[in-house]
Structure formats: structure tokens, C-alpha cells
């Protein structure tokens, strides 16, 4: 029998081999799939069904798998390009909308896509379950399907077709009826492994590591997609995303995953492009939410004083490093349909702000303070937190002592939107192409407690509510636009909230990635024509 023994020399040799092993895999990197795009992902949504959860975090992954009826476009009529629908029109009376659907499309499991899928998605998911669809499709009564490529939406009340059209990119992701019709929709396995008609099929999700999407060989658009695989690599640390793209471990970081402070440095690196377009249809707004239950804040003079105390240009320059625009009101400047600059303005003017507060009867005490309040910045972005620090200082200038209260997402949601345990809060809502989708809810009264990004500040203005309700059923496009311009004037005049700046995200990509940002919702569109040079 041989006794197994290890000499010191063997041990050292072994140790040297293990050390050398660290370098070996570098040689093996080249074997990966030739047309694989690796992108940074900072979160892992637990539900990937975009028909149920219309949010950019979900779309970022699922929009490549599940497609909407139409997508936003830079040059298409009304800013749209066809996807699963090839044509759409609304009736004169606003009670119906007809969609002509694409034929010859199949689901990833091989079953044909038909109007029944659209009817099912609309009636069973968009209207009753979707966070945004509940508002836009609230009067949808039925969807008729006279043939396999026609879907007619019937509304119980006149619904402006302009609104339906503007809602197409974000609110109309179509999911397969045959997968969802049995069992509880919320518990369907396809919510975590979506099945759609898009250019990519769901591959796998390794929690904490990556999502893998693979090429759909039977995509309805010939010769597309141009990639074999998309990998979403989970990188929760923001500094990690900047380093990863520099080391070419990822090729693309969307949604400003590379922090603004790093952009200047990164843009100078050979092989890396900083792209500031491709987000025009998902403009984020930085707003100050106001709790009108607080006596001082219920006074319009105080709200105006706060608006005058904020130096918007300074916020744009220092917090957003120039990658933002000062807001004039609740509709962002880059909106092409509804925006008006004809609104009251509150230029930065500390003296005027102080005068307004004196006028309102809130005089400074011996310490120079008028009153104190709690300020809750939303934790979702660096910029919302930094603006919290800025606003505290700006308020101190006018004698308002703001105490910052920092929560994580769950704590913020509960404090602001459920318990109303705040005086001022900072929120980043999204403008989605039509004020009726996710903007009027920020000021209209009557939303139940607990709904995020809605009026939870106790603001009630029946005239404004009335205006919002009229605009929601006004069919004539010009008349509807006029109503929303009036809406902007009223909001800015009465300040139920204060719009500070608006911003679009930034994409950082390697030069090897082609066709980046070629539509106004690019990061959350299907990436069928995105290509990579190997």
C-alpha cells in the first residue's frame, strides 16, 4: 500500500498553479457568443409582466420580449411607429377605437397572435390590473373581435382618441390569452418568465446575477433581431457600472447607471460614447410635494415664497451637472403636444420670498426662524436626495427651518403616500406623453391613500378637478390641448406642488453598439435593430 504524502515542494507548486489560475480565464473570454450585448441592470423586478406593471424598470427587460400595439417614434405620424397594430382610428363620438392588427405574428411558444389576445389583455389586465391602465381604460366596456386582425374597443363614456394614442407605447403590452386565461393572473409563471411576440425570448434569470434573453428566430420582422443574446448584468453599485463599461465587461449602461459625475471622465475614453437622446418620451420631473394639511403650507403666499426661494438654474448646474432643464410647469418643455410657456413664473428672488412670508404673517423669531417643517426626499435617485440637501439650505435662507427625514423606498412610500407624515417631499414622477396618464393624478383630489405619485397632500381645488375631468372627456384635440394649457396655468398659479426641473436619462455605450437611441423610448423599446460589432 502506498502512503499518500505531500512534500513541501508539491504544495508550493500547487499554490503557484492556483495563483496562476487567476490569470487563465482572461484567455477564455473570446469564446463567448459573437453577437451578445451585455447591459447593466440596477434592479431585478419580481414581476416582469409589462401588461400589469407599466414601469420603466419592468420595460427595460420585458419590452424586448412583450410588445405593445405601437411604439414611440421620432418621425412617425403622431410620434408613433406600428408594432402589433398596423393601423388605428377613433370614432367621431369617442365611444370606440378600432385597431387593425399585424397578421402572421406568432407567440414565442408557436401559437398564432390574434385579436383575441388583444381583447383579453385589455379587458383582463390593462383595465383591471395595470397601474396606469386603470385610469386610461377605466371606461373601456368591451373589446369586439370581428376577425382575427381587428380589435374594436368600446367605451361607456367618450374617451379622447388622442389619449388612447398617446397611451399606446407604455400601456398596451399584449400578452398571450392562452397562457393567462387559466388560473390567477397575478400568480401566472409567465409573470417571471414572460412569453411575448418580441424579437427576444426569455432565457433565464439568475437572481443577483443576470437575466438572459435569446434571439427569437421566428420574429415577424424579417432579418431581425440583429443580436443573438442580451444579458442584463445585475450591478447594484453605481460606481461598478462605470468601471464595468470602461473594462468592456458590459457594453451599455442605460438610465444614467453611470453617475452624472463620472460622465465627463468616461466621455473622454476611447471607445465609449455618452448618448443624451432616446428618453424624450419618458421625461422625469423633479417636484416638491406639499402637504396642504399643514396650516402654513395651505397659505398660497407661503407656497409662492418657497417657489421663489429655489434657484432652478443652480439646481440644473450643480446637481444635474447641466443634464436637466428648469421646469415652467407640470408639462415638460420637450412635450410636443401640450406644453405652453404661457404660465406664471417664480424667478429666484430671496427678497421677494421673504417679503411674501412676512406678508403671510410668519415673521422671523429672534433666531431668524419663521417656522420649521419636515422635508422627505425620495430615495430613488441621487439627484432627489441631493436636491433635498439643497432645498433645506434654500429654505434656511428664507427663515424656514427644514428637518431632513431620510427613508428607504418602503419607509418613504409609507410616510408620504399612506400616512401623510410629511410637510414637504421630493418626488420624481414621469410625464408619459399625455397629462391624463400620470400627471393630472398628481394634483386631482379624491385618490385613496397609499397610491404613490398621486395627490396625497390633501390639496382640494374643485375648479381644477372640474377642468381635469372635462379635459378627460373632450374629444376635439385642439379643445383638449387648450384645456391642458389652462391646467398648466392653474397649477403654476396655485402651486398644489412645485415643479423644479425635468430631466432625461443618459446612455453610456461602447462604440461597438449600433443603432442606440433611435427612438424616444429607446431604452424601453424592443431593440430589434440594435447590433453589435464583434
Amino acid at each position: 500500500m502506498r502512503v499518500i504524502s505531500t512534500t513541501r515542494r508539491e504544495l508550493l507548486q500547487g499554490a503557484a498553479m492556483v495563483a496562476a489560475a487567476g490569470f487563465a480565464p482572461k484567455l477564455a473570454f473570446a469564446q463567448d457568443a459573437a453577437r451578445r450585448l451585455i447591459v447593466a441592470a440596477d434592479s431585478e423586478p419580481r414581476n416582469l409582466n409589462p401588461a400589469m406593471i407599466a414601469s420603466n424598470g419592468v420595460f427595460f427587460v420585458s419590452s424586448k420580449i412583450v410588445e405593445p400595439l405601437a411604439e414611440a417614434s421620432y418621425d412617425g405620424p403622431n410620434g408613433l411607429a406600428p408594432r402589433l397594430a398596423v393601423g388605428w382610428s377613433g370614432s367621431e363620438d369617442g365611444l370606440s377605437a378600432t385597431f387593425k392588427l399585424r397578421s402572421g405574428v406568432t407567440w414565442h411558444d408557436g401559437k398564432p397572435f390574434t385579436s383575441a389576445d388583444v381583447a383579453f389583455s385589455a379587458m383582463q389586465i390593462w383595465k383591471p390590473l395595470q397601474n396606469l391602465g386603470r385610469i386610461v381604460f377605466k371606461d373601456l366596456e368591451s373589446v369586439e373581435t370581428p376577425d382575427e386582425t381587428t380589435a374594436i374597443f368600446r367605451f361607456s363614456k367618450p374617451t379622447p382618441f388622442q389619449l388612447v394614442r398617446n397611451a399606446l407605447p407604455a400601456l398596451t403590452s399584449v400578452v398571450p390569452k392562452h397562457i393567462y386565461e387559466t388560473g390567477d393572473i397575478a400568480e401566472n409563471p409567465a409573470n417571471t418568465a414572460p412569453i411575448g411576440t418580441g424579437p427576444f425570448r426569455f432565457g433565464e434569470h439568475k437572481p443577483g446575477e443576470y437575466y438572459k434573453l435569446v434571439r427569437n428566430e421566428n420574429y415577424w420582422q424579417k432579418d431581425l433581431p440583429k443580436l443573438d443574446e442580451i444579458l442584463y448584468r445585475v450591478l447594484p453599485d453605481r460606481a461598478a457600472a462605470a468601471n464595468a463599461i470602461e473594462a468592456d465587461e458590459i457594453q451599455l449602461a442605460a438610465f444614467s447607471a453611470v453617475p452624472l459625475a463620472d460622465l465627463d471622465r468616461v466621455s473622454k475614453i476611447e471607445g465609449i460614447a455618452v448618448v443624451t437622446t432616446g428618453y424624450e418620451a419618458l421625461t422625469y420631473q423633479l417636484i416638491v410635494e406639499i402637504n396642504h394639511r399643514r396650516k402654513e403650507l395651505a397659505d398660497l403666499k407661503v407656497r409662492r415664497a418657497i417657489a421663489h426661494a429655489i434657484d432652478r438654474d443652480y439646481v440644473v448646474r450643480t446637481i444635474f451637472l447641466g443634464h436637466a432643464t428648469a421646469s415652467t410647469g407640470p408639462v415638460p418643455r420637450n412635450d410636443t403636444q401640450f406644453y405652453t410657456s404661457d404660465v406664471p413664473s417664480y424667478p429666484y428672488d430671496v427678497a421677494k420670498a421673504n417679503a411674501l412670508l412676512d406678508e403671510a404673517g410668519y415673521r422671523r423669531d429672534t433666531n431668524g426662524r419663521r417656522f420649521s417643517l419636515r422635508l422627505l426626499p425620495a430615495p430613488y435617485f441621487n439627484e432627489t436626495k441631493q436636491f433635498g440637501d439643497y432645498l433645506r439650505q434654500a429654505l434656511a435662507e428664507i427663515g424656514i427651518d427644514a428637518q431632513l427625514v431620510s427613508n428607504d423606498a418602503a419607509g418613504h412610500q409609507k410616510a408620504v403616500y399612506t400616512d401623510h407624515d410629511f410637510d414637504l417631499a421630493i418626488a420624481p414622477p414621469v410625464f408619459r406623453g399625455d397629462p391624463a396618464i400620470s400627471t393630472t393624478i398628481l394634483v386631482r383630489s379624491g385618490t385613496p391613500d397609499g397610491v404613490p405619485f398621486s395627490n396625497q397632500g390633501g390639496y382640494v381645488n374643485s375648479e381644477l378637478d372640474n377642468l381635469i375631468d372635462r379635459a378627460a372627456v373632450t374629444l376635439d384635440e385642439q379643445a383638449r390641448i387648450a384645456l391642458y394649457q389652462e391646467f398648466q396655468r392653474r397649477v403654476v398659479d396655485d402651486l398644489p406642488l412645485i415643479n423644479v426641473v425635468e430631466w432625461n436619462f443618459i446612455t453610456v455605450s461602447r462604440w461597438s453598439v449600433k443603432n442606440v437611441s433611435n427612438n424616444p423610448r429607446w431604452a424601453v423599446s424592443n431593440w430589434a435593430d440594435t447590433a453589435i460589432d464583434s
Binding site: V234, N243, A244, A410
Partner: protein
């Protein structure tokens, strides 16, 4: 042998109240944190009042805290850690997926810091007060003063971004379908930087303790006796080092818990999907069952390591517990 068994039995009994306090404390802290799992979910998805109520009901959050805690304890008594809300999977499965990675990271970092720290400690402690000792002591103090996440960032910028010797982050090359040796090598190359970042900081600690302990032993009578008998310097160093090693073994046990905490930070910097990152997610999502599971598993781990250390201690130094009473 019997002594060891008695020790194990006593420690296991003693562990039960510790675990009970840990579990109850964690539950209470999470209850006190503002917002619950539904708030965390709604904050990322949006939703209206009916959806919020429905979710609270289906996740069992409409029940009182006492009822939920009772349910957790009764499940636990049956060996069931429960169901993770944010992963929609059994807690044990989720933890077991991540635990081996953290253990590998921690184990490698511990081995690195212990081995290197002891070695450098011996070198420094061989002649306390010498130039070599002063340089090593100053160096270790500098290392110890560094936050591990900062060291991690520096290492990754230098060795992954600039030199590209090592991959920047992750546990292994994603979606690579490597197996066997090539997978092991892949993991080794991914862990090189995080292990170094985590290990170096603690290495400084081991080195300083080893050096201090040796400096003390140099003054003992037996050393003087050895010198008097004309032993060479290196033989004496061997004796001194062997006697100085004991406090380090104690530290090994104490450091297990600290290391677990340190890996939370390092896992985040290097995007290693381990237990540390999972803990962060569980807190952010207010996933009480998952967090309780993680805390429980971690506590069991720390208790087990300390038990092993105590056994090792008794074995290394027969003087300890020779009467059978000190243990």
C-alpha cells in the same frame, strides 16, 4: 474526548436562548422600521388602493405582528424557515443558493488574513523594536485604517479597469456554462480581488495581535532560560511564536461574525451575489421571513465557528481545561 462532548452539549444548549433572542430582536426591529413589504413593492411598481389591500391580504400582512411572529416560530419548530415574499420561493432555497458563495469568500479571506498576518506578525515580533518591526507595524496600521470598500474600489480600478488582470465583478463569468476545473479557475479569478480587499484589512489585525503577543512572551522567564542555555535566535523565535499563537485562535472565532458583516460591503462593491447582498435586499424589500432566515443561519454559523475554535483551543493548549472545569 468526553470533555469535548460535554463542551459541545453545553454549548448547543446555551445556543438556544441566543438564537431565540436574535430571532425575536430581528423581528421587532423590522416591525419598527417604517413601511412593510407591500410598501416596498408598491414604491417600485405603483398601484392603487384595491391592489394594495389585495397584496397585503395575499402576503399575510393584514394579520397582527404577534400572529405573524407566532406563525413563524411554529413553522420554525417544524424545521421550516417559511416563504420569501420578494422571491416567491422557500427561504431555505434562496439562502442555500447564496450561502456557499459567501462562505467561500469569507473562508478564503480568513485563510489569507490568518496565514499572512501570522507570518508577518512573527517576522515583526522576532525582534520587537527593530526597523523591520517598525515598518511592518506602520504598514499594518495603515492597512487597518483603510475601509475595506475603499480598498476594494482601489483594487478594482487598478487591477480590473486599468491592468485588466482580473474580472471586475461577479462570482463567475455570467451565462458561460463552464464546468469542472475551468469553472473553479473562473471563480478563483473573480474572487481574487474581493478576497484580497476583505482579507488585507483583517490581516493587519492578526499581524498586530501576533506581534504584540510575541513581544510580551519575549519577557517571560522561559525565554530567558532558553537564551541562558545558548539556544539560537531562530529556535527561540519558534518557541515564542508557538506560545503567542493562542490569542489568534480566539480572534479567529470573534472575527467570524465581523467578517460576515464585512462581506456585506465587499459583495456590494464587487457585485458578488452572496448572503450579504441578499441581506440588503431582504431589508429593502421588508421581506421579514427571508431576513429572519438569514439572521438565523448566520447566527448558527457564528456559534458553530466559535464552538470549533474552543475545541481547537483546548487541543492546542492542553493547559486549558485540564481540570475539566474551565470549559
Amino acid at each position: 474526548m468526553q470533555r469535548a462532548l460535554r463542551l459541545v452539549a453545553r454549548r448547543l444548549l446555551g445556543a438556544i436562548p441566543v438564537l431565540a433572542i436574535v430571532v425575536a430582536g430581528t423581528f421587532l426591529l423590522l416591525e419598527l422600521a417604517p413601511g412593510d413589504a407591500v410598501d416596498a413593492y408598491i414604491a417600485s411598481t405603483g398601484g392603487d388602493a384595491t391592489m394594495i389591500t389585495a397584496l397585503r391580504e395575499s402576503w399575510g400582512l393584514n394579520q397582527s405582528a404577534a400572529a405573524r411572529f407566532g406563525l413563524f416560530v411554529s413553522r420554525l419548530a417544524h424545521g421550516d424557515l417559511g416563504w420569501s415574499i420578494s422571491f416567491s420561493r422557500p427561504v431555505l432555497d434562496v439562502i442555500m443558493e447564496r450561502l456557499p458563495r459567501t462562505l467561500l469568500l469569507m473562508g478564503s479571506a480568513t485563510a489569507l488574513s490568518f496565514a499572512l498576518g501570522t507570518l508577518l506578525g512573527i517576522i515583526a515580533g522576532a525582534r520587537p523594536g527593530s526597523i523591520r518591526d517598525r515598518i511592518l507595524s506602520a504598514g499594518s496600521l495603515a492597512l487597518y485604517a483603510m475601509p475595506s470598500f475603499w480598498l476594494g474600489l482601489v483594487l478594482s480600478v487598478v487591477f480590473a479597469v486599468n491592468l485588466r488582470w482580473f474580472p471586475l465583478s461577479g462570482f463567475e463569468t455570467i451565462a458561460s456554462s463552464k464546468t469542472g476545473i475551468s469553472r473553479a479557475l473562473d471563480i478563483a479569478s473573480h474572487l481574487a480581488l474581493p478576497v484580497t480587499a476583505l482579507g488585507l484589512v483583517y490581516m493587519a489585525l492578526y499581524m498586530r495581535v501576533m506581534r504584540a503577543s510575541m513581544a510580551e512572551i519575549w519577557r517571560e522567564d522561559f525565554v530567558r532560560a532558553l537564551i541562558a542555555r545558548g539556544f539560537g535566535h531562530f529556535r527561540i523565535v519558534r518557541h515564542v511564536a508557538r506560545n503567542a499563537l493562542l490569542p489568534l485562535v480566539t480572534m479567529l472565532g470573534v472575527q467570524a461574525a465581523v467578517m460576515l458583516g464585512g462581506s456585506v460591503v465587499i459583495e456590494s462593491v464587487f457585485a458578488v451575489p452572496g448572503l450579504g447582498r441578499l441581506t440588503q435586499e431582504a431589508v429593502a424589500q421588508r421581506d421579514t421571513p427571508l431576513l429572519l432566515g438569514i439572521i438565523l443561519v448566520s447566527a448558527v454559523f457564528v456559534i458553530a465557528v466559535n464552538l470549533i475554535v474552543d475545541l481547537l483551543y483546548a487541543w492546542l493548549d492542553p493547559r486549558i481545561g485540564a481540570s475539566g472545569e474551565t470549559l
